[in-house]
């Protein structure tokens, strides 16, 4: 079953620059798609446009159709704000790159996680408290009660990203968009968070759109990849195809530099 159909997506800035040009892909329930590109390649803009959250002044055209179970068919590009608000969180939710800025600095962590639970599942009081605890435990946070009482600046970067993941999962989205979720983290923490995401997506049968500039990371978690350069999808295919037989020069460059890094590491450690 197709969850998301993107056809000929264009995003144009207020100055008339094309940020995303003619990007098309489909995403089935439980599928994992990686979106690779350097910064400025339009990958984050693609994600925002999919949620109908392109910044004011941007012109979005093309088709972005969600067909999430129980939510009906919605074309995000033409849908009204009310419809989109009810769709967000349940059809799709997002984990961002920098967890410190993605959490409200003045709100205790527990309250931030509670907010979507309260709104979407209508939980109150004790039930809500228990749900927050469960949500924090699900992302493998030790001592969830302490974390819930803390402000974002009082916990570590890895813990913050786990909280952000808990928030994104709170509404049980059909599609999780992860926008460079491990880039701001230490390498060891990166691996942990990646494993966690991998497991959670697996358990819940969620679809995943994983955005990164790091081919090695994407190839670990995604099944298919799309390579973006200057807003244009230059190559797409299964991870195996793209990594083993890159066709576009830019993809070759990406694969090549990833291999060189690997080679250098092996030479160092052998």
């Amino acid at each position: 079953m197709t969850l998301l159909t993107v056809t000929g997506l264009h995003v144009r800035s207020a100055e008339g620059r094309d940020l995303v040009s003619d990007v098309s892909f489909t995403l089935g329930a439980g599928e994992r798609l990686g979106l690779i590109g350097e910064s400025g390649s339009g990958k984050s803009m693609t994600a925002l446009a999919i949620m109908g959250l392109a910044p004011p002044g941007m012109t979005v055209s093309g088709g972005v159709v969600f067909d999430a179970p129980g939510l009906g068919r919605t074309d995000v590009v033409t849908a009204g704000e009310r419809r989109l608000t009810s769709l967000r969180g349940r059809a799709t939710s997002t984990v961002f790159q920098e967890p410190l800025t993605a959490l409200d600095p003045l709100m205790r962590v527990g309250r931030q996680v509670a907010e979507p639970l309260r709104r979407r599942r209508g939980l109150r009081g004790r039930a809500l408290h228990a749900a927050v605890r469960a949500a924090l435990e699900e992302v493998r946070l030790a001592d969830p009660d302490r974390i819930a009482r803390a402000y974002p600046h009082e916990i570590s970067g890895g813990q913050r990203q786990r909280v952000a993941i808990a928030m994104a999962l709170a509404c049980d989205p059909a599609l999780l968009i992860a926008d460079e979720p491990t880039t701001a983290l230490d390498v060891t923490v990166q691996a942990e968070v990646l494993t966690l995401l991998d497991g959670l997506v697996e358990e819940r049968g969620m679809a995943l759109l994983f955005i990164s500039h790091d081919l090695a990371v994407v190839s670990r978690i995604a099944e298919r990849v799309i390579v973006l350069k200057n807003g244009v999808a230059v190559e797409s295919g299964s991870v195996g195809e793209v990594v083993n037989a890159p066709r576009h020069p830019y993809t070759r460059e990406l694969v090549g530099s990833a291999r060189r890094l690997d080679g250098a590491l092996e030479w160092r450690t052998s």
């Binding site: 961002f96 409200d104 600095p105 003045l106 527990g110 408290h129 709170a170």
Partner: protein, 281 residues
């Protein structure tokens, strides 16, 4: 958790400036409260003899009409606090609404509002007060409206900038991606995040409003007699400052005490209102 915010924070820090400010402003507040229940003399009692020096039975002496200075001073405290609170209420609400509107507005509307605010800020408060007085009458209410309107422009401009800064943050987008509607975003994220800065500014504005009311009264644009205002007391005592200095010193000192107190509170509030600052203290 929803219960968590209602609960008093476990670590509300004790701020020395906040305590000092509360003591000073509290002193004036206490005087104002007492004035409602007890006054040494009736406000229009002129039997004390003119320009009596401090002593008994008139603790601070009398003014040029023979009225008891302490009585006038106590009523003046009431007027000063009313002016500050009224102006902050008007300026805060109007300014917050205008600032939020500008912060959320499209480019075109935002530019229009900003230009309007710039004009309003450049407009002299005294002139504004004269216009309001001409339209209504010379009263404390007119003075409060004029000061509040002048203040609202400053508050609106600050609010606009703060709102724009908060809206640009990732956590607003993050909250929107989980399906929070705009009104909820304002209540849950925007207002709490602009409040630490805004509350400090409002406290400072309170002090400025007290001074503005004193200036307007000094110019005869404030509360008419017999409602004593510190500003008018200063003006009336000015001619006799060398014969009866108490008439100038007393309201002057109280004015300073109140404004310094309020400013110290503003400083203290900044430390308490923002949890991210608590750690570094």
């Amino acid at each position: 958790m929803s219960a968590g915010r209602r609960r008093v924070s476990r670590r509300v820090p004790r701020s020395a400036t906040l305590i000092a400010g509360c003591v000073l402003a509290g002193l004036v507040l206490a005087v104002a409260v007492v004035s409602f229940f007890w006054l040494p003399y009736a406000p229009d009692d002129t039997t004390g003899g003119r320009l009596m020096p401090p002593g008994l039975p008139h603790l601070l002496g009398t003014d040029k009409l023979g009225r008891d200075l302490l009585t006038q001073l106590m009523i003046g405290a009431r007027v000063a606090l009313e002016a500050g609170a009224g102006a902050v209420l008007i300026g805060g609400l109007v300014g917050l609404a205008g600032g939020l509107a500008a912060g959320f507005a499209t480019r075109w509307l935002d530019d229009t509002l900003s230009a309007l605010l710039d004009i309003l800020i450049a407009f002299p408060t005294v002139l504004l007060a004269m216009l309001v007085t001409a339209a209504r009458e010379a009263s404390l209410g007119s003075a409060i409206i004029a000061i509040g309107l002048a203040m609202s422009a400053i508050v609106a401009r600050l609010t606009r900038v703060l709102v724009k800064r908060v809206l640009a943050q990732d956590f607003i987008t993050a909250s929107r991606t989980s399906g929070t509607s705009w009104p909820r975003v304002v209540v849950e994220h925007v207002l709490p995040n602009i409040w630490p800065t805004l509350s400090v500014n409002l406290a400072l504005q309170f002090g400025l409003a007290v001074l503005a009311e004193a200036s307007l009264s000094y110019l005869g644009l404030g509360a008419p007699p017999p409602n004593a205002s510190w500003g008018r007391m200063l003006q009336e005592a000015q001619a006799s400052v060398f014969i009866a200095p108490a008439g100038v010193i007393a309201p002057g000192v109280l004015l300073v005490v109140l404004v310094v107190g309020v400013n110290l509170i503003a400083d203290g509030v900044r430390d308490v209102a923002d949890p991210t600052r608590r750690r570094t203290r």
